[in-house]
Each structure stands twice: as structure tokens, then as C-alpha cells.
């Protein structure tokens, strides 16, 4: 049995994924609006074809033969991960997968209207249907200890609800009082859009996004794609009188750098992507929180704004970027209180899926949790339980990665500074070569060879934990 057929199929799937990313990037940045329906069909065709090719009978036959051959090294890893992906994909009946997709698409339509009308009751039936289908989906994976674990595995293979309850429990217990006791935030600083438009490419160029292999565009929500390892595209969003376009661009830079620095020999194999949503998010959060919001980088950012015609004191800029301002909306939360938004969502979706919470009781539970964790009252469901699209899109198990990204990012940053020493002086010169190289070696190069926990352990010497993020948060709020 030769590995070649499997490798060719994996290369094909990798190319189809790249084309799908291109189609999605184009849709969100370049496509004339009237192209929407056609693009939907093109992307559905691509996805269907990729799924067919990934789950075809011959792939199962190749895997049987290759497992018997007990390959070592990279080929062995390719077979191991291919088997995992193949089995997971085949375990879900096609009709159920299609029904989930239909309900999720319908759910998003209904949710948009319900959010606009501030009417949770209008959304409840669609959400109930998504929850039911998610349970059916979870039931396809008999080896999962709990239903939620089966959902989580699509985003973060190997993590469990129990593990998250432990880590998030520790996090919430310390973080909620920290947020409540944070000093009052200074008034926000805002730059004109023109200055932000000058600053974003200037800052990204200084940290390594050379024109030869990168693009920076606008989109309604910032995102990043790697279309092959040498074609990285980030977007950001410019709001008048804001600063966050630069921070959002650095966040997306972190995602893109991960995909670029995966070991070249993993290119066009099934190992050539980020290993999990949480590790991916740890890379964006590291560049956002630990580099972008580092006090030593503030003069570099201020200089970039100044070249765009906006003068700001580095110390004021930094104070504005790290100020704690507990608020209702997750996507605009400050870097300290942000994970509490996720803890709330995790608790609620776990209870929805595993049966402890009825959909009808969700708004009340949301509002209680917001008061408990963030200390604020929710005035209406639009700025409460209806604010995010994830449940409407049936993406249960996705939210945790946002908080895990904060935790793992902080844990990696501590390990990096332990290995390399404090980065203050280098960051003052916008010299991030050491950071990039450390991340390449300890995180990026592995691709999908290591799952989240083994990767964190190998990179930091410890299991995933909340303590490093909490130390970082305490330093930001000036707590002991």
C-alpha cells in the first residue's frame, strides 16, 4: 500500500479549501453585491465536492491498508489524522448533516429579524430546533463521554466539557472581582479614519507583513485567511473616532502568521493547518493583547498615527487600549473583561445541550449571568441574548475558543518571555523577529501534529491554565 494516493487526495482537499477561502474572502471584500446568490451556489458546490472526495469509500480502503503498514514519521502522522477526520465525517448521516445546515441557515435568517425586532420569542423555535439537531449530531459519536464533548471536538479535538468547567471556573472566580474592582477607565481616545488607514499598513509592515505576500483590506467584520502559505490576507474595519482598527489588524495578523509558519513539509497535507480554534485564537490574542497592547509598543503605534496626521501621547494611547470598561457587547469588550462574556456563553450552551436549561428560560439565565459575571443589567435582548450569531448558526462548542485563546495566549507569552527574556526593549524598536521565531518553533511549525493540550504542555511545560491570564489581568488593573 503506497501513501501516494492518500497524499494526493489530501493535496487536492487542501487546494479546494484554499479556493473556498478565496471565494469567501472575495465575497466579504471585493464581490459586487449582486454576485451573492451565485457565490452561494459556487461555495456549496465546492463544499459538497470536497466532502464527497474526503469521505469516499476508496479513502477508507487506503487508510485500512496504510494502518496495517504502520508508517512512521510524517507519513504515519498523515494517516493518523486522516483516519480521525474520515471517521468523524463518516459518522454523521448525510441527511442529518444536510438538515443541520438547512436549520442553521434558516436560524440565521430568523435570528436577524428577531434581533432587529428585539423579540427573543420569535427566535426561540429556530433555536430549539438547532439544539435538538446538535444533540442528534452529538449522539453520532458514541465515544464522547458527554454530548458537549462531541460538539467541542469539531473545533478543539481532545478538550472536554469537564476540562473547560475546571479552567473557566477558576478564571471566573478570580476575574469577576478583578473587573468589578478595576479603576475607572479614562475617556476613550479616537483617531480619524484617515489616520487609522495610514497607521494599519505602517504597523503591519513593521511587524512583518511585507507587500509581497500580504494584503490588507476592509470588511464589515475583521477576518484573516491564508490562501496557501505565502498569500496571507487580513482585513480590518475603520470606525471614525476609534483606535481599534490597528488592534484588530494585529489580531488578524496573529492568525495569518500561524498559517504562514507551519512547517513547509506539511503544506498541502492534512496537517498543514492550525491545530484548533483555541490555539488559532491564542495566536491572534497574543499579537493583540501581549504585543499590540504592550506599553513598549505604544510609541511605535503613536508614531504610525502621527504619520497619518493624528498626534497622541504613547502613555495615553496605552492607557486607552488597556482600560477596563465592562460592557454588554462581547465584540467590543475590553481585553480584561472579554473572557467573562465567553464563560457566560459556555455555561449556557452547555446547559442547553445537556438538558439543564430550556430555550424559553435562556434570556433570564443570560441576564442573571451578565449581572453575576460583569455586574451589569441587560436592558433588552438585542444587547443581551440575541447579540451573537453563533447559536443561530448552530455553532455550539465554538465560543470557548475565544476565551481559551486569551488564556493560552497569556500562557505562551509567559513562556516566551521566560525563554527569551522580557520583550520591552525589542518592542520599543518594533523588533518582533524573536517573537515570530519562538512562535514558529513552539507553536506554528507543528501544524495539526499536536492537539491543543499537548501543544500547550510542550510549549510551556504546563497544562492549560487560567493563572497566566489572571496574572496579566491583575497587572493591567494594578491589582496585587
Amino acid at each position: 500500500m503506497s501513501i501516494e494516493a492518500l497524499r494526493e487526495r489530501m493535496a487536492e482537499l487542501s487546494d479546494l479549501t484554499a479556493l473556498g477561502r478565496l471565494a469567501a474572502w472575495d465575497q466579504r471584500t471585493m464581490m459586487p453585491p449582486a454576485g451573492g446568490p451565485g457565490r452561494g451556489e459556487q461555495m456549496a458546490t465546492l463544499e459538497r465536492l470536497a466532502h464527497e472526495r474526503a469521505t469516499a469509500d476508496e479513502v477508507g480502503e487506503w487508510l485500512d491498508g496504510l494502518e496495517a503498514a504502520r508508517l512512521e514519521g510524517l507519513d504515519g502522522e498523515i494517516v493518523r489524522i486522516a483516519r480521525r477526520d474520515f471517521d468523524r465525517a463518516r459518522r454523521v448521516p448525510a441527511e442529518l448533516a444536510a438538515e443541520i445546515e438547512r436549520a442553521a441557515s434558516e436560524g440565521q435568517h430568523v435570528w436577524q429579524a428577531a434581533r432587529a425586532a428585539e423579540d427573543f420569542a420569535a427566535f426561540a423555535p429556530a433555536l430549539r430546533r438547532n439544539v435538538e439537531l446538535a444533540r442528534e449530531y452529538a449522539a453520532c459519536f458514541e465515544d464522547a463521554a458527554r454530548p458537549y464533548d462531541a460538539l467541542l471536538a469539531d473545533y478543539d479535538f481532545g478538550l472536554t466539557a469537564e476540562r473547560l468547567q475546571g479552567v473557566f471556573g477558576e478564571l471566573a472566580e478570580e476575574l469577576a472581582p478583578l473587573v468589578a474592582g478595576a479603576p475607572e477607565a479614562p475617556p476613550p481616545i479616537g483617531a480619524p479614519v484617515a489616520a487609522q488607514r495610514a497607521a494599519v499598513p505602517a504597523v503591519l509592515a513593521r511587524i512583518g507583513a511585507a507587500e509581497d505576500g500580504w494584503r490588507i483590506d476592509d470588511s464589515a467584520h475583521p477576518f484573516s485567511v491564508g490562501i496557501g502559505r505565502s498569500d496571507s490576507r487580513v482585513t480590518t474595519r475603520y470606525v471614525e473616532g476609534d483606535l481599534l482598527s490597528v488592534i484588530a489588524a494585529m489580531h488578524e495578523f496573529g492568525h495569518a502568521l500561524y498559517e504562514r509558519q507551519i512547517a513547509p513539509e506539511l503544506s498541502r497535507t492534512n496537517l498543514g493547518g492550525g491545530t484548533s480554534m483555541s490555539v488559532h485564537e491564542s495566536q491572534s490574542k497574543l499579537w493583540e493583547n501581549h504585543v499590540g497592547r504592550h506599553p513598549a509598543l505604544a510609541p511605535v503605534l503613536a508614531e504610525a498615527f502621527a504619520e497619518g496626521g493624528f498626534a497622541v501621547e504613547p502613555s495615553e494611547l496605552h492607557a486607552s487600549l488597556v482600560a477596563v470598561r465592562p460592557s454588554l457587547i462581547r465584540v467590543s469588550a475590553d481585553p480584561v473583561s472579554y473572557p467573562l462574556h465567553i464563560v457566560l456563553r459556555f455555561e449556557l450552551e452547555l446547559a442547553l445541550i445537556e438538558g439543564g436549561l430550556e430555550v424559553a428560560d435562556l434570556p433570564a439565565a443570560w441576564n442573571d449571568g451578565t449581572r453575576r459575571l460583569l455586574g451589569i443589567d441587560v436592558p433588552d435582548d438585542a444587547s443581551g441574548v440575541l447579540q451573537d450569531t453563533h447559536w443561530a448558526a448552530a455553532a455550539f462548542g465554538y465560543f470557548p475558543s475565544y476565551a481559551l485563546g486569551c488564556l493560552i495566549g497569556a500562557q505562551l507569552w509567559e513562556a516566551l518571555e521566560r525563554d527569551l527574556g522580557p520583550q520591552d526593549e525589542a518592542l520599543g524598536r518594533a523588533d518582533v523577529a524573536g517573537i515570530r521565531d519562538w512562535l514558529a518553533e513552539h507553536v506554528h511549525a507543528h501544524g495539526r501534529r499536536l492537539d491543543t493540550e499537548p501543544l500547550v504542555e510542550r510549549a510551556t511545560g504546563r497544562g492549560m491554565e487560567a493563572a497566566p491570564f489572571l496574572r496579566h489581568a491583575r497587572s493591567l488593573v494594578g491589582a496585587p
Copy 2:
């Protein structure tokens, strides 16, 4: 036997084609340069997969069953064209197709170096190989009366070398003396790039390229793609002190409009594209020559330039756009002498393929033909036989469409003005709704239902002929 399976496969192939066009558009307009090698792999994968799906055994089985069922109407047409495409694709052995692709790719590399070095001898072996392989390819189609006909059929199904010899013979006989006797051209007029950048979108907006469904971008060579029928993208090229960016954009608009106005029920079927290269080129040439260079449109163009800060008299603008300036290089030829460049290439490639001309004798034949047809001496091979990439890329049979586009464009324009009356007054208001609708009804709506000659006959009441273009050319040079 149900048509559904065939229709689904055709829809899939149409979606894959759209994705391939997106990938090519992106490569030429947006992609960071370092993305090149990855993009090459992605596009090769897409093409291989599309070919596999188009020529799979089950398609042949479906066609056998459906032909026996003798479907009528649109379904019958879908089966007829699917059979033609399937048989043509299956008649070429995979090894030969791969070898042609390899040799063509190699040919383009060798050609680039040979052109830079002005050294035809360095290119000759690669060209000889391409000619040999083209003959082998032609031999796969036993039903073609002549080898050249088999090559032509890939671009213009149903046309023959004999037919082209007749039409091009008539064209050359009258056009060469017309060009030789044309009045001296006025000095060229050139606008600054900034004025051209303002004029291009302004003019396209006035003739119907609304932002909702169109994009206009820059590229090294102007081109157009339709990524689905509601997403049209044209590019143009801005040269300081030139005017042609606007004319090139109108040319590409003509191509794009064709794809947009195909009957909606042909969308995502195998009939939902332009029927041939020559009819496609007739649409670009009609918008370029008969609309863009129309004297009545000159004030509209002058106004668009004026808004961009460049003042020009409409009469001078028009005189510059239609001046005859016989020259060595095809891509910058004036609209009257242009087809003579193609007649030369057609004569030579026909002789190469069918054995009347040795590759070694090609430069001398080129230079003789340039003197005979255009009245000018070729100083070196770089501005002579080495100027185009087509033979290096093994695209034998492609050149004729450029001249046929001029002829068919002129023939359609005469028929259009016969049906609608002279367009001078409407063009003075940039009102092209009548032109767009006439083209939709007589040309575009049919998609691939009619091949080139039947389409021309139905639209104009006559077979394809040189006379309308010659009348147009005579009017431009002021000949009787």
C-alpha cells in the same frame, strides 16, 4: 432516464468554471506576488477535477440513455451540446493532453527568453514540438476534414479553414490597399492617467455597468470575467499620455455584457456561456469600434475626460481614435489595419499545421507577409514573429477569432442599425439601452444554443462576410 443527473453535473461544472475564473481574476488583480506557485497548484487541481467530472464514465451512460429518450426543447439542447463536449474531451488520450500542456508551458518559458534575446532560433525547437503535438491532437478527430479544422473547433465549433480562407482572402484583398491609401494620421492625443482613471468608471456607468454588479480594476493586460451572471469584472490598463484605457474598458464591457445577457434559464447549464471565441470577440469589438469609436459618442467621452481634468475637443478625440497608423505590433494596432495582423497569423499557422511551412522558414514568411499586407518592414523578430505568446502556448486556431470578431461585430452593427435605425442621436445621449436589448435578443440570449455561423445568419439574415467591415473601414478612411 432522467435529465436531473446530467443537469446537476452541468451545474457543478459551471460552478467550478466560475471558481476558476475567480482564481484567475484574483491572480491578475489582487493576489500578492508570492501567492503565485500556490495559486498554480490550486488552479491545476480545479482543472483536473473538472475534467475528471466532465469525462467520467457515468456521464457517457447518462447521455446514452438521454439520447434514446429524444428530449425536446432546452433539455434536448443540453443533451446535444453535452454529447459534443463529452465526445471531444474523451477523444484525446490523457497522456497526449498532459504532454501538450507540458510542452505549452515549456514553450512559453522558452519564448519569453527568446523574445528578450531577439533570438528566434532559440524558440524554434519548442515551436516545432508544439506544432507536432498539435498535429497529433488534430489526428484524434477523424471527422475533421482538415487538421486545422479540428484545432479551430476548440474555439469556434463548425468553422473550417476553407471558410476562413474565403472570408479572409476577400478581406485582405480590399483592406490592404485601403490601409496603404489611408490619409496621414493626426498626432496622437494623450490624457494623463488621473483623467483616464476618472473617465473609465464614468463612461462604463453611463453605458450600464452599475456598481451593484460590476467591478473595474487594473491589470497588465485588460481582460474580463463573468463569475456568475450577476458578477461582472472588467480590467483596463492605464498608460500615461494615452486614451486607450477607456476604449479597452469598453471592449471588455462588451465581453462581460454578453455573459450577463444570456437567457436566465441557461444559467448553470452547459449552454450558459458565450458560443464561440469569435462571437465573444464580436461583442467586444462592437462596443469598442462601433460604440466607443462612434463620432456621436465622442462628446460623451470628452465630457468624462473633462470631469477628470483633461480638456479635449470631441472632434479631435474622435479623429485620434479612428486614425489609421499601420504598425508592427498587433495589440496596439488601429481598428482598420488590425485584422490584417490576424490574416497574416492565420495564413502562417495554417501552413505550419498542414505542412506547407517549416518552422525554420517562419521568420522570413512573417516578414514577407508584413510587407505584403501592412506595407512595413520588420526590423527584428521581437517586433515580428516573436511578438505574440499564442504559438508558444500551443493555441493554434485561436488567432482567427480576433479578426472574425471585427467582421461579425461590423455585420451585427449594420443589422442593428437596419432594425433600430441610426444610433447617432441616442449615442449622443449615451443611451445604449436599444443596443443592449437588440444584442440580448439576437446574440446573447442564445448562449451556446447556436454556433457562430447559424447565429450570424439568424441575427443578420446573411452568412458571415467581410463586406460590412470593409464598408466600415472605407468610411473611416474616407474612401468611396
